[in-house]
């Protein structure tokens, strides 16, 4: 995609939401116009930002994900693959702004009994372990569906025993860990890992890493809820 195409694409993807907001502003919302002017400027900022992000992401996050995925599998050392997957899952999750927000919310929900650091650590470990599972799945040819099914059965089983406040938070955790930096990286990691495995299963193995990565944090928060109860 050329720069011009990217700009076109971005304008076309941000305009609909902008039009909807403008229409609502005129008909029912009626924010002060000085506030609304700031919104209009922020739209321009958002468009410029999204364009630059998409241009930069191809040569950075997508490239590194594929490279890392390929060299991990070529290294052939199982312990290294598992250790790396846990480390990278842990690191990107700790750094995710959405997870910090989640930690604050859990602090509120648990009345301060679950500290921010504990929650962030547990959720990040959840992502790391599931990312390692995602790698092992491709290597040992385990069905993604089975792995997901076991994960979600565990989720619903734990849900029965956990403190009720933690239920809603736990599903929120799955979404909070997958931010705009993490997703391109993990997506391309999957593409890189499966490219090594040969063309027959490459396309179907490429996806599922992000999905598995979201199960880990849900389980992690539910477990905390069971212990907290």
């Amino acid at each position: 995609m050329s720069v011009k195409e990217t700009v076109n694409e971005v304008v076309r993807s941000v305009l609909p939401i902008t039009a909807a907001v403008i229409l609502l502003q005129i008909t029912v919302v009626r924010q002060p116009w000085s506030e609304f002017l700031i919104f209009l400027f922020s739209v321009l900022m958002t468009m410029a930002g999204l364009t630059l992000f998409l241009i930069g992401v191809k040569e950075s996050l997508l490239a590194i994900g594929e490279l890392v995925g390929k060299s991990l599998l070529q290294s052939g050392k199982l312990w290294f693959i598992v250790a790396f997957a846990i480390a990278v899952g842990f690191a990107v999750t700790v750094a995710e702004p959405g997870v910090q927000v989640l930690a604050n919310q859990v602090d509120v929900v648990s009345g301060g009994e679950i500290s921010r650091y504990l929650l962030v650590a547990v959720v990040a470990l959840g992502v790391g372990i599931y990312l390692a599972l995602a790698m092992l799945r491709v290597i040992f040819n385990i069905s993604l569906l089975k792995l997901l099914l076991v994960g979600y059965i565990l989720v619903f089983a734990l849900a029965i025993f956990t403190a009720p406040e933690f239920l809603a938070v736990s599903f929120d955790a799955g979404g909070a860990t997958t931010g705009p930096v993490t997703v391109p990286f993990i997506l391309s990691l999957g593409v890189g890992v499966s490219a090594i495995r040969g063309s027959r299963t490459a396309s179907q193995d490429s996806f599922g890493f992000v999905g598995l990565g979201s199960v880990g944090p849900i389980l992690a928060v539910l477990l905390l809820g069971v212990i907290f109860k």
Binding site: Q31, E59, T177, T178
Partner: protein, 252 residues
């Protein structure tokens, strides 16, 4: 105009932190394993810099503009006598917000690259948008009627696992990935602010939990909609007519 840059330092810190681990991993791998040529390393860092500036501007725009408007829309509609309108408006906002998510665009690029056009970009985008739209509309319904999240989540995942057995593995991976992909910064600020705003305006609801519930639904319904897309592909392929698939493409 100073308001446009309110909290800009925090945005810069957040985005820097998000990029940091990956830069560290890159430097580590390059030093020990890849030993890439200088030009390629420079290209990576140029890419990181551009993506960093882009994401910072994007997040700042979303934080100062979309967040406030989302909340204002929610409270205005939730406080109105005709607050049932939250449901259709939620549907529309969910639909249009999806295309503006950065990760969705990236998913599109990767799907195009991996499947070589087997799954049409626009078709996938529409199915994802409809998924998010339904999820936001259901969240509004929950706020208005006070229905427990579990009446949606349990049957939802049950149907997901039944459907997932009937589609190609490619669609299973793609569908579950999309749950994480759609819950990006646009949903987590604009739609979350809209949800909290309307929940505060509707008596007897709990804004914190309604917000959680919305994210849970947005992470779930697109899985379902992409599996339905997968089932449509499977059906048209079972009939063995190439023309059928084109028909699906053209219709969407």
């Amino acid at each position: 105009m100073a308001k446009l840059f309110a909290g800009f330092t925090q945005t810069i810190v957040d985005v820097t932190l998000a990029f940091l681990p990956l830069i560290v991993f890159y430097v580590f791998f390059n030093y020990f394993y890849w030993k890439l040529p200088r030009r390629q390393v420079l290209r990576f860092f140029r890419g990181i810099l551009i993506a960093f500036i882009g994401l910072t501007l994007f997040m700042q725009g979303v934080n100062v503009g979309f967040d406030k408007m989302g909340k204002a829309i929610g409270s205005a509609l939730g406080g109105a006598s005709y607050n049932w309108i939250l449901v259709p408006i939620g549907f529309v906002l969910g639909f249009v917000v999806t295309m503006a998510e950065p990760a969705i665009q990236v998913l599109n690029m990767e799907v195009e690259k991996v499947t070589g056009g087997y799954i049409h970009n626009k078709v996938m985008l529409y199915f994802l948008s409809i998924g998010v739209a339904v999820a936001v509309a259901l969240s509004m319904l929950r706020i208005l009627l006070g229905i427990s999240l579990w009446y949606f989540i349990v049957p939802g995942y049950l149907i997901i696992f039944i459907l997932a057995r009937k589609v190609k593995p490619l669609f299973v991976g793609l569908a579950f990935d999309s749950g994480g992909v759609v819950t990006g910064p646009m949903i987590a600020t604009f739609i979350l602010a809209f949800t909290v705003g309307s929940s505060e305006a509707v008596p007897g609801s709990n804004p914190l939990f309604d917000g959680f519930g919305m994210i849970a639904l947005v992470a779930m319904v697109p899985i379902l909609s992409l599996l339905i897309l997968g089932a449509l592909y499977a059906r048209s392929e079972a009939k063995g007519k190439e023309g059928e698939r084109d028909a699906v493409r053209q219709r969407a």
